[in-house]
Subunit: 655 residues, 2 copies
């Protein structure tokens, strides 16, 4: 018998229902809720924590173990000197505007976006291009302070202009944003008041280290600096070899101006970051061929700079060959990111890679691609993948005087001949006094050709040189001789470049929860989270018919056998119907359920229920455990499982 | 052939060598080292991160999975209101003293300890009771600012007094510490200057949330408040049932005054905390009998308050029966903590549980035991296990008005009869005007016996009552009647008590690294970390004879087979002798090594080396993999493994 098919799209995605489910089942909740909460801070409850732990565990396998990366755990509290060097103290900031009357603070780019998107949506509706939003969506939007979309058709050129502004939003400076607010009369939608000039607000949380109050510290806004500062130790740990990568999973902090987007914009979050160190002259990747055929949806910078959002479907191999993605290593990681996201359950049709525009990218970076995941708020950056060149290691090295470099021994030393100036320091000082320094500098700036010339002149008895400010000096062989020397270079020293894939775990987790959500065709109130077994918080629910003592030994046996098989299960013997218990676990994303009843006690059988289809099968307890183990470990699918276990035709629990 | 025995105590523990090893192998290092470092902040390198991850993974299994705890992940940044309620803003502080001339800040209790321990050590030496410290140790001590131990015998009463002070150190107030400094002329050992009066310094890092600067936030100094604030959600998730526990592993921060003790006293650290919620009237534990026979070393509060440190050896069952440990649940967790620490490799002979003294314990706590682990600095608290009573839930509930309580349905409602006053509100108001309120209050304050009396008087036509301020009122049946009613109580509402085991992961990790360290008998320079396979960063080292291509396929095969078996291995094909590679991995604590050489290519055999004994065995590749898998999973030991694999009598790598 074939497995039942399920219609997961019978009902349109309903954000209200989805949020109610996540809240009811304590995936996450506003932190300090009983104190009124704090914007941008959330706590993960038991299912959210487990889901996060499972995503992290898979990330560790997919990246750290698979590629033998070196894991780090560095501190969050960071002295200000580090972020002064990295540029964060000066530049890690967003533009904010103040409501001129209330003093309310708004993030400038978000304000422009919210205000311009509304008439555009209204225009689309008027042109019959968009579905009319549900009253619930409208209400939500209004509550969140976005301007209401009025169904009015805009003049073509206005519509076009708005679209260009929105496509280039990440490209604007503070001045640009201020001009846009004036030009389009953009006001605080909550009060309809005008807003002032954009001002920079640094997003790092500041604190003070030690009891004297003299040492400013910042909470890191990313884990990356902790990798870079340990580069020399990491290189040594890797026996001096390159390429290699360090990896870190940890908490970071950003004091967002006015966060209103749930888990998508928070002040405290978990990141997973990789810093992959490569030879700047060789950004090929050993395993690139394994990724060559991975198909991606790309939105490149030229398209965006033309004010458009047209994507291309292309393999990684082709994108690198054509120079769309800058190099193999960057392409390799873009493909690996794609594979990871799809593996944990992100819908590949709602996943694209967007290239940073020139103004948007850090000045030192050579290329940068964001994995964007589509959700109810639009396309959201969830992973960044940037080629940061040698910037970070260079600035820290220059600042501290510690060489953060690779020393590579040539197999054969490179032998060259060179003209080298040799000074008679005593005569130089005696003859030229305070000019001695200038003279030395002038000669040392000469190239090989000029040195050969000078040598010729000196052989004649004297030579004349001209310093950079135009002064002439006469030199004699008593002061300077020039000799041809054999130079043997056996070490190449260079600052590696860094390719940085950087994952926002909370954003991935939230978009995954949206992609997994649907409602039963026959009852829109019955929500299901179809999380893949790989990341589902609980893999199997054990449901005894009741909390009666006679089921206890079997419940313990089954629980312990699942545990031995490495399958995380939970027992639900709460005082409610089996159907209600299953419905609760559909909301928790638990893929399988087993029921223990009187037949189990008598015949040692157990029914198995699959979450999405609600199909029920039956079999001997040990066989059901074996089937579930194979299902969870990905060694079989439900269709095959149905061939191993007959359908359950007994009295089914009413669902 | 029996396995080789090893002498791990041939050389005394050498702190200098140990620290050099941890630093050389990048277990951890001072954070921001290239910027000069910041006291109390450390980064974990690859082996430290893996060791920590493995300890956490075992903690999860031992506590969360085994006891079905509810995991949480709550925010670090916390609004000040929460810590005002919890008492941290007022009381989470240490006493500091300032050097009167330089302004240097010292922690008062640590200063007293350092200064008094030195003459005591000198006294012990003079009495021939202690080993003379090595010059290296002396130098270290001097550098760290502790007073030098002069070998002078103290008068008996002085020695006794110092000992009592040190035994009670955690019991002193700021005033006490100030008095001690004056009485014993305790000065800053770095400068020999006097110190000022002790002042309180709050140990929480402060910051500001949001762009206005108006909202103070603190970095949590423990994860506990995040559990308590979510209590209602957790209880609901647990279907309203109690007892249950929440658990959280996460970062916490304490702005230590002057941290100088490596990983034992840091400003940022990982904790693992459990909050176990119990009925205050029933602190029995369902699984206490499983722990009853666990033997512990206890140092109880009475012994310490008498100025002594004599421990007792006792089972948990006996300690609870005799009232030494306050209740079964506390005893259960003390025993589970003991089992966890021993399982990951802590030496049980250097582990004791110390009870808090009355002054040391929080005022609300009913009992508290610290797991202390002995190391080169003395006995260090690594886990706390406290019965916090109903304090935390009560204060947050009172502050916010959200009831943090359990509502328990009685199986049978409790039926009682009660005299209940019934007012005729209209007559009451008309007759007594503004006195009506006082009269109602007075009557409602009466107990059942008094109400029966009043009822009797009213039956006579009138009754007289006296308010709390002495006024008399006459009441009639027109205003008040009293009736016997049947009251059915079906719900019991109560605030649960909290038992809190709280683990400092960094301190456990460091003491484990000390307990694991020893030097080869024949060469003190050859350090070994005998980490158990359960927590060792890498389980197996794969060592090809050289980096030649011909070994590549075998290396890949063995690596991939270990990975499939769930065993984490690393390949070391660096350009150095096999002996040197093994020596490096002894320092990394890698328990097993396999060598691939020309014989492997020809015969598909592989040698297996055990870290502690350096024994080498040989076998077919797949058999060696099977043996190692059993060894790592704890399904066999080395002696049994030696029966499965013959000794290797080929040319051994020179070590």
């Amino acid at each position: 018998m074939a497995a039942t098919t399920v219609n997961k799209t019978a009902h349109a995605f309903d954000k209200g229902r989805h949020e109610a489910l996540l809240n009811r089942r304590f995936f996450y909740a506003p932190a300090f809720e009983i104190y009124g909460g704090v914007a941008g801070l959330y706590d993960y409850g038991p299912p959210g924590s487990s889901l996060q732990a499972n995503i992290i565990s898979e990330w560790r396998k997919h990246f750290i173990v698979e590629e033998n990366m070196l894991e780090l755990d560095t501190t969050i509290m960071t002295p200000s000197s580090v972020f002064e060097t990295s540029g964060h103290v000066a530049r890690f900031a967003d533009w904010m505007v103040k409501d001129v009357k209330t003093g309310d603070v708004l993030r400038a780019d978000h304000l422009v976006k919210n205000v311009l998107e509304a008439p555009l949506a209204g225009d689309k509706e008027a042109r019959g291009l968009a579905a009319i939003p549900s009253p619930a969506e409208e209400k939500k939007k209004k509550k969140k302070g976005a301007a209401k979309a009025t169904v009015v058709q805009l003049p073509d050129e206005v519509m076009k202009e708005y679209e260009i502004v929105l496509a280039q939003l990440d490209n604007y400076s503070g001045e640009d944003l201020g001009d846009l607010c004036k030009k389009h009369d953009i006001r605080n939608p909550d009060t309809d008041n005008e807003v002032g000039e954009p001002q920079l607000f640094n997003l790092m949380f500041a604190s003070s280290i030690g009891p004297t109050g003299q040492h400013t510290g910042y909470l890191r806004p990313e884990t990356a600096q902790g990798h870079f500062l340990n580069f020399s130790r990491l290189l040594e740990f890797n026996n001096g070899r390159i390429p290699f990568a360090s990896a870190q999973i940890g908490r970071s902090f950003r004091n967002e101006i006015s966060p209103r987007a749930g888990l998508l914009r928070v002040r405290e979050f978990n990141m997973a970051e990789i810093e992959h160190y490569v030879d700047p002259e060789d950004k090929k990747h050993e395993r690139f061929n394994e990724m060559r055929d991975v198909k991606l949806v790309l939105l490149d910078r030229h398209v965006q700079e033309a004010g458009q959002t047209t994507t291309m479907n292309i393999t990684v191999g082709e994108a690198v060959d054509k120079g769309i993605i800058a190099n193999e290593t960057l392409g390799y990681f873009v493909a690996r990111i794609y594979q990871f996201l799809v593996k944990i359950g992100i819908n590949p049709e709602r996943l694209r890679f967007r290239q940073h525009m020139s103004n948007e990218m850090a000045h030192y970076a050579t290329d940068c691609w964001d994995a964007e995941i589509q959700n109810s708020t639009g396309w959201t950056e969830c992973v960044g993948c940037a080629d940061r060149a040698a910037y970070d290691l260079s600035v820290h090295s220059n600042k501290t005087g510690h060489a953060l470099v690779v020393r590579q021994a040539f197999k054969e030393p490179i032998v060259t001949e060179k003209e080298v100036p040799e000074w008679n320091k005593k005569n130089l000082g005696k003859t030229y006094k305070q000019d001695a320094g200038v003279i030395q500098k002038t000669v040392e700036a000469l190239d090989q050709h000029q040195l050969t010339n000078l040598k010729g002149q000196l052989a004649q008895g004297k030579a004349v040189i001209t310093s950079s400010d135009g002064k002439e000096f006469e030199l004699t062989p008593e002061v300077l001789t020039i000799e041809l020397k054999t130079i043997k270079q056996s070490i190449r020293e260079y600052t590696p470049n860094v390719i940085e894939p950087s994952f926002g775990l909370g954003r991935i987790l939230y978009t995954l929860l949206e992609h997994s959500f649907w409602s039963r065709e026959q009852d829109v109130e019955r929500g299901v989270l179809s999380l893949p077994p790989l990341v589902a918080p609980t893999k199997v629910l054990i449901v005894p018919l009741s909390a009666r003592e006679e089921f206890d030994p079997l419940v313990k046996e089954v629980y312990s056998k699942f545990r031995k098989a490495g399958i995380f299960s939970r027992v639900d013997d709460s005082n409610t119907s089996i159907g209600k218990r299953y419905a609760r676990n559909d909301e928790l994303g638990t893929p399988f359920g087993v029921t223990l009843d009187f037949a189990s006690v008598q015949n040692r059988t157990m029914t198995l229920r699959e979450r999405d289809t609600m199909d029920q099968r039956i079999g001997a307890i040990d066989e059901v455990i074996a089937v579930v183990t194979d299902l969870v470990n990905g060694n079989t699918n439900w269709e095959e499982a149905c061939q191993r276990l007959p359908a359950y035709d007994g009295v089914q629990a009413v669902e």
